[in-house]
Symmetry: C2
Subunit: 221 residues, 2 copies
Amino acid sequence: MSDFSELESKINYNFKNKSLLFLALTHSSYANEHSLVSNERLEFLGDAVLELAMSKYLYNNETQDEGILTKKRAKLVCENALNIYASKIDFNKYILLGHGEEATGGRNRKAIIADALEALLGAVFLDGGFDKALSLVLNLFVPYINEALKNQDYKSILQEKLQSEKRSIHYEIVKESGLPNDKTFEAIVYMDEIIMGRGIGKSKKEAEMEAAKNALEKEAR
Amino acid sequence: MSDFSELESKINYNFKNKSLLFLALTHSSYANEHSLVSNERLEFLGDAVLELAMSKYLYNNETQDEGILTKKRAKLVCENALNIYASKIDFNKYILLGHGEEATGGRNRKAIIADALEALLGAVFLDGGFDKALSLVLNLFVPYINEALKNQDYKSILQEKLQSEKRSIHYEIVKESGLPNDKTFEAIVYMDEIIMGRGIGKSKKEAEMEAAKNALEKEAR
């Protein structure tokens, strides 16, 4: 478990019960191969831990009304945001994956990374209480919330921009390739019938987001 | 603030900062009349407190997988469930309402009651920490979770029951009456073209739920 102590030092938390840390990192593919329990129930718990920690941060540090806070919170706890936080500590290298999942690129799959990071929060919460989990969120996630807020607004930004010009936009998935559990999608965003941008992603949504980003970059030039 | 100390004794928690309790009970209609801040931001926070407290309870006490736990959690933190918990301590009598809202029956409006109860949880959390809020949920909400789970399943139960008989059902709102902010709806549920049940409620959803309940009661006879 030497890797695990490296992770503990990165998150500045030492588990009293190391098996909780092990559980948090156990993806279902690894659990299946080794007849273990996976991190899925812990992720259910960690999801709520993250929600409350981010809510407390926003309540204490933002003066906006609850409608705006609710929208911000949703963006700060979503899969994309979790992947940003995870990338800062190379979190994905600690996840325990089955061979098949590893071979098909599971270590870079956004859902797997986000779920394991939530499970880690659930584990810290069970092991050390809410305040320890809150510290983790404040120290390792909050410094990157502006990046997280920026990262996912491309479709909304493009929408708003073009609405003021009374233009309508739509997205099309023009290509789908790869194996069933490791697909790549290509999206095009059109304004009226003109191609505005193209994007590639591991999900339809991600491809569309990238297409919107691409359109905005072209606009800015 | 004599009423407030009665509430504190019911929830077995004494606020260090009484203004947090006052804030939790301040509906926007009262806030508007008295130029005060309303409980809406505190409700944003309390919503996440309830979610985590229920998640911890379910994680520790249920062995089911995360999919089932997620569905259960949704039912245990929804407006209907909050109204069941609130009714056990006559919580609505402590809410501070504006005159207009009071005159039009706001004290019995489910959304107002649920929101204030969430705000109360947010207030306990800020004042005493997560464990105090968790105790409140365990002592005052958890004893009624079976009632909460049962209370809202009528539409799903009816759906499942009739699906196995290969029947199709649909709902119709047949009557709408009352003032804009105090409406009453009547719903009918049909199996094929036969009337199975009728229900009345303060929202379309509530009326449909009551209609489903009525249909199930008739079936049981």
